[in-house]
């Protein structure tokens, strides 16, 4: 008892120090997830029945996608142009295709049931006119890649 009384201050300090150290214990047990790969593409190529029908590279294109009003276009498959200029297949690690029309009353995109977000689609002509479409490869909530605007023409 005498020992405790005599060394009360030191014991208290030791307890505070132990508390301080304990507060830090197990606070850092949260491993960091590995860095993810970015799908690096600089362009898109559109194929119908295996034949290239349009392409866009670094946001620049001379091509137009056509569809008749009230009808579905032919089936489009998409491949991508890598940074070294090669044609590469689309990503398969959960990334999805997304798009945006300037004017959603002119045309829309249609995909087979169960294939939403895949890299195949049909255009659907809503009314005669012209608009632009931009495609994205979505990784969660942001896009790894954006194509730039591609002209879309809906004809009779």
């Amino acid at each position: 008892m005498n020992f405790l009384k005599k060394n009360r201050d030191k014991i208290l300090a030791l307890l505070v120090l132990i508390t301080i150290l304990q507060l830090t214990a197990a606070c850092e047990d949260d491993p960091i997830i590995p860095q993810e790969e970015h799908f690096k593409a600089i362009g898109m190529v559109f194929y119908t029945s295996g034949i290239e029908t349009a392409r866009i590279e670094k946001g620049i294109t001379d091509d137009t996608l056509f569809v008749k009003a009230g009808k579905l276009s032919e089936h489009y498959n998409i491949k991508f142009i890598s940074e070294d200029g090669k044609i590469v297949p689309p990503p398969t690690d959960g990334k999805k295709l997304a798009w945006e029309f300037d004017d959603t009353s002119v045309a829309s995109v249609w995909q087979h049931e169960g294939e939403e977000g895949s890299f195949e689609f049909h255009l659907k002509g809503l009314k005669e006119g012209e608009t632009n479409i931009e495609f994205f490869i979505m990784h969660h909530d942001h896009h790894d890649y954006r194509s730039g605007k591609i002209p879309v023409k809906v004809i009779k």
């Binding site: 201050d9 850092e28 860095q35 970015h38 909530d141």
Partner: protein, 742 residues
């Protein structure tokens, strides 16, 4: 040729004369005059009839109507001074009397309006430079409580020479004279704050301002005690989380803060508890804010919430003190989105910082060596960025070991006081998720020397610092698209000299010359791709050199009775200024322009003016302005993110218990913009405030009520990244209540 010879002769002559002049003043004298002034720390008013006692000589004097005292024939060397007054807390100071007359200014804290505990950050005596810093670069007491915001940067934004860069309310950081990122060092009780706020505009500072005792903005030679970047500065917050003095009783505060513009609320408390020879300090605060209201709508995803806690203890005795502390800071906040330079849907960031500190001061009180101080820290910092759908987009982890050992000395070669020190920082930086900067380790070691001395009417501060930096990425990548990613080693040095001349008793003029250096950050060297939250395509450059430059500053200050003014002119010439330069190349994946880190010559110059005039009894008028011009030296083109001409004008009434004021906060239009930067219109915003303090028994209640942007003016901060979608906050009622107990 002859002209060059004369120039060399003139330069060498000046150097020789200076050496002879300084040496001749080194002769020892028996007995010198020791005089000075005693002022109220809150009001800067003289304290009449304060009793000044030199304890070791058992001599005392009384301050006159101007707060002035004088002792004659005091032996040179170190003395302990005690100053007492019925209405003020006792002050204990160390003072060194040099061979010539010694003049000091002391500040006492009022007992009846106790805003903060006495904080002594240095055990050196106050010099004229300390006086100037106290007047112009320190935020404390009632002024600190009045200006308190949700972040450190918002608390400081109206200080002269300081602006605030933001990307929403939470990720705000101070900018000093147009310079930001790690050119402005954040520190707590003199130890560098480890976080990522200096690397990107969406990263927040991990400091809660409510529990701070005082904030110092350090410029000049003293900067080199902590960083080699003399042209920026240090923002040092003081809490004394490891107690260094033993109080007679438990003291501290409990308080709350609320504001209407974001339905924000904070509760906090801190206490210092003496237990025999031990002092224990504990601190706890919690803050929550919603999205902020602006005059044109709500800024979505601008919420924040944080928890801040600290526990420290110290054993204090005649030998000095030795102590330890632990601090934890957790912060969750939103970064708005949907504008150029931002993630399309905004980002939510969560961060935490755990820090252990060990600190000691050993009192030597020898003829040359006064103290040995050591401070060690271990910091664990973790930061995660979540996209709108909740997926983890990026994460960062830093484990950092820092430390320094300082030797406080005096009269080594000639009458002076100074600090000789060494420091180190060993950092492990890990990244994960969608980030394209390689994990890296870095090591920094430094040695520095700071001295202060007087020669007649001249006061000098001089400092030098040598830095060794090694930065090693986790992998070498010689064929990376940005260049050869490999280990880098930097050897840099910095220097700063300030002199102050007393033209009269109340007017001082001064000059500072300095050579600055800064090592590039890991992101500036190695980043290979887009940054998610800031949504910018900024890439690094592994071949960057260290940033270096020279600066000069002229200043004049006057402090007498009813008038105080301070004028600064500065010019910083950076031979190699690192910033992200537009490459003219568009990234094929994101169609964003690529900005690559580059070093170019740049010039910063400007002026700061502060003026206060007590024109009638308790009524005063104050005005301050700051101006910075930043350009690329070769082309004269403006640099980005330079604050406009700005300032404050205000009228105040202040007595012992009540302070009322109305201020106008203004900025000119900023048209000097970078190629892809938009101009920002000027503005004038009215604010008002009131503060009331009452004391009863051992409690002091202080209440501050502020009404910001009274007219709900729509205005934009040029350094705000969200200005394109939203202006600054609308009308805001802020209430701060603190109960001090002792």
């Amino acid at each position: 040729m002859q002209k060059k010879f004369h120039l060399a002769l003139w330069k060498n002559g000046i150097i020789a004369f200076s050496i002879i002049f300084i040496s001749s003043l080194a002769a020892q004298n028996e007995g010198v005059n020791f005089s000075g002034y005693i002022y109220d720390i809150e009001t800067n008013e003289p304290i009449v009839n304060a009793a000044i006692q030199i304890l070791d000589l058992n001599r005392y004097e009384v301050a006159n109507l101007e707060g002035k005292f004088i002792f004659k024939k005091i032996p040179t060397g170190k003395h302990k001074i005690r100053i007492t007054h019925l209405a003020y807390k006792e002050g204990l100071f160390d003072c060194t009397c040099h061979n010539d007359s010694t003049h000091r200014v002391f500040f006492l804290t009022p007992k009846s309006i106790k805003i903060s505990t006495i904080t002594v950050t240095e055990h050196n005596s106050q010099s004229k430079f300390d006086n100037l810093r106290e007047l112009s670069n320190v935020l404390k007491g009632k002024e600190l409580q009045k200006d308190l915001g949700i972040t450190l940067a918002s608390t400081l934004k109206n200080e002269t020479g300081i602006a605030m860069r933001t990307m929403g309310p939470a990720p705000a950081r101070p900018i000093i004279r147009g310079l930001g990122s790690d050119r402005v060092l954040m520190s707590e009780d003199g130890m560098k704050t480890t976080d990522m706020s200096g690397t990107s505009p969406d990263h927040a500072v991990t400091i809660e301002p409510f529990t701070i005792d005082r904030i110092e903005v350090i410029r000049g030679p003293k900067v080199l005690l902590q960083t080699p970047t003399t042209i920026g500065g240090v923002v040092n917050v003081i809490r004394n989380e490891i107690p260094e003095e033993l109080h007679n009783s438990v003291n501290g505060f409990a308080g709350a803060y609320g504001e209407t513009v974001n339905r924000g609320f904070l509760g906090g408390t801190a206490a210092d508890i003496p237990i025999n020879s031990f002092a224990v300090r504990a601190e706890l605060s919690s803050r929550k804010t919603d999205d902020i209201n602006t005059p044109i709508g709500i800024l979505k995803n601008s919420y924040s919430k944080n928890i801040n806690m600290e526990l420290g203890t110290s054993y204090i005795g005649n030998f000095g003190f030795a102590g330890a502390s632990f601090r934890r800071f957790d912060l969750d906040y939103g970064v708005p989105g949907g504008f150029v330079g931002a993630h399309p849907h905004g980002v939510n960031i969560t961060m935490k910082r755990y820090q252990i500190n060990l600190k000691t001061r050993i009192n030597i009180h020898g003829k040359k060596l006064q103290h040995i101080k050591a401070h060690l820290s271990r910091v664990y910092y973790r930061h995660k960025e979540f996209e709108g759908d909740g997926a983890l987009g990026a994460e960062f982890e830093i484990t950092n070991y820092l430390g320094n050992v300082n030797f406080d000395f005096s009269n080594i070669l000639f009458p002076s006081t100074g600090i000789l020190g060494i420091s180190f920082e060993a950092r492990n930086f890990n990244v994960g998720g969608f980030v394209f900067t390689p994990p890296s380790t870095s090591l920094n070691t430094a040695v520095y020397l700071f001295e202060t001395f007087t020669l007649g009417n001249f006061s000098f501060e001089v400092a030098g610092r040598y830095n060794y930096d090694k930065i090693r990425p986790a992998y070498n990548k010689p064929d990376a698209s940005i260049g050869n990613i490999r280990k880098r080693i930097f050897n840099t040095y910095s220097f700063s000299l300030s002199t102050l001349y007393s033209v009269t008793k109340h007017v001082n003029i001064g000059i500072n010359v300095n050579k600055s250096s800064r090592v590039p950050t890991i992101e500036e060297l190695y980043s290979e791709g887009p940054h998610l939250a800031a949504y910018s395509y900024e890439i690094g450059n592994p071949d960057l050199k260290d940033e270096s430059g020279t600066g000069i500053e002229l200043f004049i200050y006057h402090k007498f009775n009813n008038i105080y003014f301070n004028i600064n002119l500065f010019r910083n010439n950076l031979e190699y200024y690192i910033f992200h330069r537009n490459t003219g190349v568009i990234d094929g994946s994101t169609l964003l322009m690529i900005y690559k880190a580059a070093g170019e010559p740049a010039l910063f110059y400007g002026t700061e003016v502060q003026f206060e005039w007590k024109f009638y009894r308790n009524f005063s008028f104050e005005i301050s302005t700051s101006y910075t011009n930043g350009s690329l030296s070769e082309t004269g083109k403006p640099l980005p993110q330079i604050p406009p001409l700005k300032g404050i004008v205000g009228f105040n009434y202040s007595d012992d218990i009540l302070t009322l004021g109305i201020t106008g906060e203004w900025a000119a239009t900023q048209n000097r913009v970078d190629e892809f930067e938009k101009p920002t219109a000027g503005y004038f915003v009215f604010n008002a405030f009131g503060q009331y303090s009452i004391s009863y028994l051992n409690f002091i209640h202080t209440v501050s009520l502020s009404l910001d942007n009274i007219l709900n003016t729509e205005y934009r901060n040029h350094l705000s990244r969200v200005k394109s979608i939203m202006p600054e906050a609308g009308t805001n009622l802020r209430l701060t209540y603190k109960l001090y107990f002792h």
